[in-house]
């Protein structure tokens, strides 16, 4: 495969706040036209990394290049070429939809006819036509999110940075938001997105899994599944899943069953082990000894959550 020039290159990026290392030796590259996701729990260093890539925060060590621009030396050289949606709502609540878009557009040097066209397009994309003069605080979460995206891409950036863009937005709006992102990628925009939603991470072309400031795995969702899972996932329906999880974990600890991990999934238990299918009877027996009835057992495709937990345990 011919190596394409990467849109974002991060080399050994590290950020310490006093004794605390928020981002620890993080290296990755993002290819043109892909959606690259940073998946990790809160406090794993996602936002800190994004802020360093935008030149808002100076790294303790390491280097980052966006669109071939060394961000540390020339942060202003990427300003007009990237778009950014921060974690908190980035528009002004007391301005109307139109006033917000006009401010963004003018700030990026648009004027007159060009500005008008872009605003119309953004309104159309966000589905906010006819609501130009509504104050932004009157919009619901999903609409605001789409308006913020509209503002962030008004100047047609080459790279879009999204920091937990759909936090606190209902599932339907989230889906619509991702459809918009796919449209943008189809137009050639590269998207860097952080999230802690597993279902959202599934939408990314490639992912980096983050834990305590370190990247613990990188790859497409399928690659991660193949590489990270030692064994298959068995889903168990039982009369008391919480207790079943405890019982099976104890069996694992005491070495009575060769299990990789046992996790509670709502009302279900996920057991991961090499050749888990042949362990079904042993598992049922173990549960019966503790007077837990086990129902249907089935080997399932591992979810990204299974994968993530498997990586975190390693």
């Amino acid at each position: 495969m011919i190596a394409e020039r990467s849109t974002i290159v991060s080399e050994n990026l590290t950020k310490c706040f006093g004794e605390f290392t928020a981002v620890d030796d993080v290296s990755f590259d993002v290819h043109p036209g892909e959606i690259f996701g940073f998946l990790g729990p809160n406090g794993s260093g996602k936002t800190t990394t994004i802020r360093m890539m935008l030149g808002l925060l100076t790294p303790t060590s390491g280097d980052v290049r966006v669109l071939d621009v060394p961000v540390l030396e020339q942060p202003e050289a990427i300003r007009g070429r990237v778009g950014y949606m921060s974690q908190r709502f980035s528009l002004y609540n007391d301005l109307t939809v139109f006033q917000n878009l006009r401010f963004y557009g003018t700030a990026y040097g648009l004027s007159n006819e060009g500005l008008k066209q872009r605003i119309d397009r953004a309104l159309q994309m966000a589905g906010l036509e006819g609501r130009e003069n509504v104050r932004t605080h009157e919009l619901s979460g999903g609409w605001r999110q789409r308006l913020a995206l509209g503002a962030a891409i008004l100047h047609e950036p080459e790279v879009l940075f999204l920091d937990e863009p759909t936090a606190g937005v209902d599932p339907l709006s989230r889906r619509e938001f991702w459809e918009l992102l796919y449209q943008l990628v189809a137009d050639g925009v590269t998207v860097f997105v952080t999230t802690h939603y597993m279902d959202e991470a599934e939408h990314c072309h490639r992912l980096a899994l983050l834990q305590k400031g370190q990247i613990i795995a990188t790859g497409s969702p399928d690659d991660l599944r193949d590489q990270g899972m030692h064994g298959q996932v068995l889903e168990i329906v039982s009369s008391d899943s919480a207790r079943a999880t405890k019982v099976l974990r104890a069996a694992k600890m005491e070495g009575r069953l060769p299990l990789e991990s046992v996790e509670l999934y709502g009302s279900l238990v996920h057991v991961i082990a090499e050749g888990v299918e042949s362990l079904q009877d042993a598992l049922a027996l173990e549960l019966m000894r503790s007077e837990i009835e086990s129902g249907r057992m089935a080997v399932i495709e591992p979810s990204l959550e299974d994968v993530f937990i498997a990586y975190m345990r390693d």
Binding site: R79, R88, Y92, D94, L95, Y104
Partner: protein, 377 residues
């Protein structure tokens, strides 16, 4: 170049839109100062009069009555009903119902008329309210001095017109009738201008930080200087408008004269606004929340307040404070305002203050720019 200014103006325009929806802020800025000026102006533009005074007259003679009438004629006092018991006076003083009381002893008129007599009156003052107490004392002293002179003339056997006494020939410059308002109102003007500019400037970046929009602003293609200029334009415009409004009130509502050059005053007010703006912007990047910014403004404003000569003239303050006053922009601006308004002074007189204000401004402004630039990037 055009595009750059259009960008900066878009930021200023946004600030004005914020002002419209946050209507209490411009109302405070334009009318808070003016209202304060009106209230303080009315309250201090009159001499102290009608202080409640109680008289306990044990003598009840023609002489004691004429003394009481003299007190009443000063207009400083408003006489309460005559009382016949010291306990009533003590209670009234304790309750704060009166500012002063005079007790005339039974031998007042006999001491007054006997050749070697020593007429005495007892004066009780409510020292908890020191300013009315001082005014009361001054009025009573005036009346007794006059009476003393009359006694002296009488006992020397002179005719009244033969005695001239010692009279200083008074001629007051700049504030002919010594109206206190002419001194305090310009101070109030400078102070309110400082608060307005400081507060508005201090909120500029703090508000964006608190709302979480500052990050986006920093990612946009604005340089730090663009941001500072864009945020400053509305502050300067509102501050200047505020100054003109308040200047109009001082002139037309309180008769503060305009003896010097209005143009010079306006130019120097603009310089002063820029100096206070620099301080405000520093507060703005230092404070994490609007609440903190507000408290910092109060702290800075209230300490500067000392040096405007509003509460007490700087010349009567301890040496150290007089020295410190040289480093307070508000102090120099107030000297300039009073100089131009009351004395009709021009640059030939005011230049030390103008120079000091300019040097302080350059210093504060330069430091502020470096500080803002460092904390925003």
């Amino acid at each position: 170049m055009m595009a750059k200014w259009r960008k900066i103006w878009s930021l200023s325009l946004k600030e004005f839109i914020h002002l419209r929806s946050d209507w209490w802020l411009p109302v405070f800025m334009l009318f808070g100062g003016a209202l304060e000026l009106l209230l303080v102006g009315w309250a201090t533009s009159r001499p102290i009069t009608n202080l409640p005074l109680m008289i306990l007259d044990h003598d009840r003679s023609a002489a004691s009555r004429s003394f009481v009438v003299s007190l009443e004629n000063t207009a400083t006092f408003n006489l309460e009903e005559p009382v016949y018991d010291v306990a009533v006076i003590e209670d009234a003083l304790r309750l704060g119902e009166i500012n002063a009381a005079v007790i005339i002893p039974p031998d007042f008129s006999s001491e007054l008329s006997s050749p070697a007599g020593r007429p005495i009156v007892a004066v009780l003052l409510n020292g908890a309210e020191s300013i009315p107490a001082t005014a009361a004392l001054r009025a009573i002293e005036g009346v007794t001095r006059e009476m003393g002179e009359q006694i002296l003339v009488q006992r020397l056997g002179l005719q009244a017109e033969e005695f001239e006494g010692f009279i200083p020939s008074l001629r007051v410059w700049f504030n002919e009738s010594l109206v206190e308002a002419l001194y305090t109102i310009p101070a109030e003007l400078g102070l309110m201008l400082e608060f307005t500019v400081l507060l508005f400037a201090a909120l500029s970046f703090t508000r964006e930080r608190e709302l979480g929009t500052l990050e986006n602003l920093l990612v946009m293609p604005f340089s730090t200087l663009d941001l500072v200029i864009g945020k400053s334009i509305p502050v300067i415009m509102v501050g200047f408008l505020d100054f003109i409004l308040m200047l109009g009130i001082t002139h037309w509502a309180f008769g503060v004269p305009m003896r010097g050059s209005l143009a010079l005053l306006l130019v120097l007010a603009l310089v002063y606004i820029l100096v206070e703006l620099s301080k405000g912007l520093m507060i703005s990047v230092m404070a994490k929340t609007q609440h903190q910014a507000f408290l910092l403004v109060m702290m800075v404003g209230l300490s500067d307040f000392m040096f405007t000569g509003y509460a007490a003239p700087v010349e009567s303050m301890p040496r150290v404070i007089q020295w410190v006053a040289n480093f307070i922009p508000a102090h120099h601006f107030l000297e300039i305002v009073r100089g131009i308004l009351l004395k009709g002074a021009g640059m030939e007189v005011l230049w030390p203050h103008v120079l000091a204000l300019t040097i302080l401004g350059l210093f504060i402004g330069g430091f502020s720019m470096r500080f803002v630039r460092r904390s925003l990037s």
